[in-house]
Amino acid sequence: MTMPLSKKIVFYSLLIISALAVFAPALMAFVMSFMDNKDIMTGSLPKSLSFDNYLKAFEQFPLLKYLFNSLIVSVVITIGQLILSSLAAYAFVFLEFKGRDILFFLFIATMMVPFEASIIPNFHIIRDLNWIDQYPGLTVPFFATAFGTFLLRQNFKQIPKELREASQIVGMGDFKFYLKVVLPVAKTSLVTLGAYGFLTSWNMYLWPLLSTTNDTVRTVQIGLKQLQTQEQLNDWGVIMSGAIIVIIPTLILLFLGQKQLQKGLTEGAIK
């Protein structure tokens, strides 16, 4: 595309300004996490930078424990989602049964019900199962996702029916075909869904808050909140350092996922 230089300059300065505006809170948090409390409160520029806040965050709160819990919960949810949605998507694409399409649309319609609406029934079930303060209580309600099934179904539909038929002729059953052909072929979208699922569960707040009562299984998002309210005078430096620690896994995953995603996409392009 050709564009006069003056126009280019205007565009790029606008882009840079808006990027800064969007990124400013994160940047501020990053800087504040290295400042001492006095500087933060007075709003002056930092006189000295130190890692004190990070050390304090780890000393005063079971941050490692929170991080570990978050990791467990996110990984379990991700795996559960991948397994359930890929199996459901397989059924919707490769198995023929009466009312399949209607069932699928009903399934998709549940995407329109926000999670908040089902939170109370979900809570009742968890409580009745005695899953409060337990990993299953934190994870199982998120295993079935209409979005994941939808995403994978669209992807599985790209797999030529002839592949299934060729495998039928040599006598390969559905489950083996799913394992040996469908999953490897749809690798890219599985990674996408996995990254998406991991990030959403990592950032989950409301449900972990409801379904936990103590620190044993609490996730890091709740932990963050606790950093804030434990003392009368908020130690903003510590809070910010906690926040920075929490977003690190997210960032790592985004960078890795992006690379993998690009690779997958170009792979698909060369047929």
Binding site: P160, E162, L163, E165, A166, S167, Q168, I169, V170, G171, M172, K176, V181, P184, V185, K187, I270, K271
Partner: protein
């Protein structure tokens, strides 16, 4: 007793309209049988029913004298080659070829032995470690064939396997598939929409249109004795020239413009007083010399094929094409004499489209038998 027997087979997808109707057919062991017809005529459906991939709505299907209507594909002992080859994109050529043997838990050593033989036969030795996307169209085709060969199934089904290849490669693969089939003694059911493929490859051909069998027979028979107008125009290139005709006195009047005398030929009784359609092949309308009965026609198009020349002219509303051997330097607009003789014509009933009488010339000439 055929190897594959279809008895009154029919198929409907929606219980309202039949895609296939009353298919009765026998395919012999070791035969190269071609199903040909325009797209949408139900060829794939029929093939897939033989494979067991599609449910049979009505009728009986037998393979090796056993009723197999409800037998799953894997128990029918066959292999299949698909139009898009159906290669597994994430597996190497070697893994693709061995996919079926693996699924059937064939012994490792036997697998390796068969792989070597097949790769040798199909010239795939150098490509075994590549992925399908690193292969050319022709190479993929070869892998798909290798997969069928390695299974050692006696029956092989192919659904338009050559239609994704360019013309030159296609001509090569035609010969290759044909040789392979003879060498391995396979029974082949081969689906194509291309009549050239059908004519050149088939021991026998079945022409299908709209789910109904039009004709079954050897290629030459279909060419010489098309049993109806559909087969007449479908088989052969350029297609058979057709014209409405009636008998008047001892002349045949075609499209109200051409008058062809019956000359010394006896006029068959069954042609009298009915509406006819006559068909004549392009190669049976040579340049007319003086001592022949000729029609003068105006040329509307000339195509030079190198060793042959195609000349088109109008007969009433129809456009006819004659094929002359050699190179004829003539122009559009020229008037040329064409010899058109009744003895080269096939006669069809205009209403039903069925053949009434085949051309008489075939009994006298051209067919060389040894």
């Amino acid at each position: 007793m055929g190897y594959i027997e279809l008895m009154d087979i029919s198929k409907s997808y929606n219980k309202q309209r039949n895609v296939l109707n009353g298919i009765d057919l026998q395919i012999e062991k070791g035969e190269f049988f071609v199903l040909v017809g325009p797209s949408g005529s139900g060829k794939s459906t029929l093939l897939r029913m033989i494979a067991g991939l599609e449910e049979i709505s009505g009728g009986t299907l037998k393979i090796s004298e056993k009723i197999v209507n409800h037998l799953p594909p894997k128990d029918r002992n066959l292999s299949m080659v698909f139009q898009n080859y159906a290669l597994y994109p994430h597996l190497t050529v070697e893994q693709n070829i061995l996919f079926g043997l693996n699924a059937q838990k064939v012994d490792r050593e036997i697998q390796q032995k068969r792989l070597e033989e097949t790769a040798q036969m199909m010239g795939l030795n150098e490509l075994l470690k590549r992925k399908p996307r690193e292969l050319s169209g022709g190479q993929r085709q070869r892998v798909a064939l290798a997969r069928a060969v390695v299974s050692e199934a006696p029956l092989c089904l192919m659904d338009e396997p050559l239609s994704n290849l360019d013309a030159k490669l296609r001509a090569n693969m035609r010969i290759e598939i044909r040789r392979l089939q003879k060498r391995l003694g396979l029974t082949m059911v081969y689906v194509t929409h291309d009549q050239v493929e059908a004519m050149t490859m088939g021991d026998r051909i079945m022409v299908l249109n709209d789910g109904i069998i039009q004709q079954v027979g050897e290629p030459i028979d279909l060419y010489n004795k098309p049993s109806n107008l559909f087969v007449a125009t479908f088989i052969g290139s350029p297609k058979m020239n057709l014209g409405k005709a009636i008998l008047e006195d001892s002349n045949l009047i075609i499209e109200n413009v051409l008058t062809i005398p019956f000359e010394h030929l006896e006029m068959p009784k069954n042609l009298k007083s009915r509406n006819l359609v006559i068909g004549i092949r392009a190669e049976h309308m040579p340049y007319g010399d003086e001592n022949q009965q000729v029609q003068n026609v105006e040329i509307v198009n000339v195509e030079h094929l190198g060793n042959e020349t195609l000349i088109s002219f109008e007969v009433g509303t129809e456009l006819w094409t004659a094929k002359w051997l050699g190179q004829w330097l003539i122009q559009v607009g020229d008037k040329v004499p064409v010899h058109i003789s009744v003895e080269n014509m096939c006669f069809f009933d205009e209403d039903t489209g069925n053949l009434i009488q085949e051309a008489t010339f075939t009994h006298k000439q051209e067919v060389v038998r040894r």
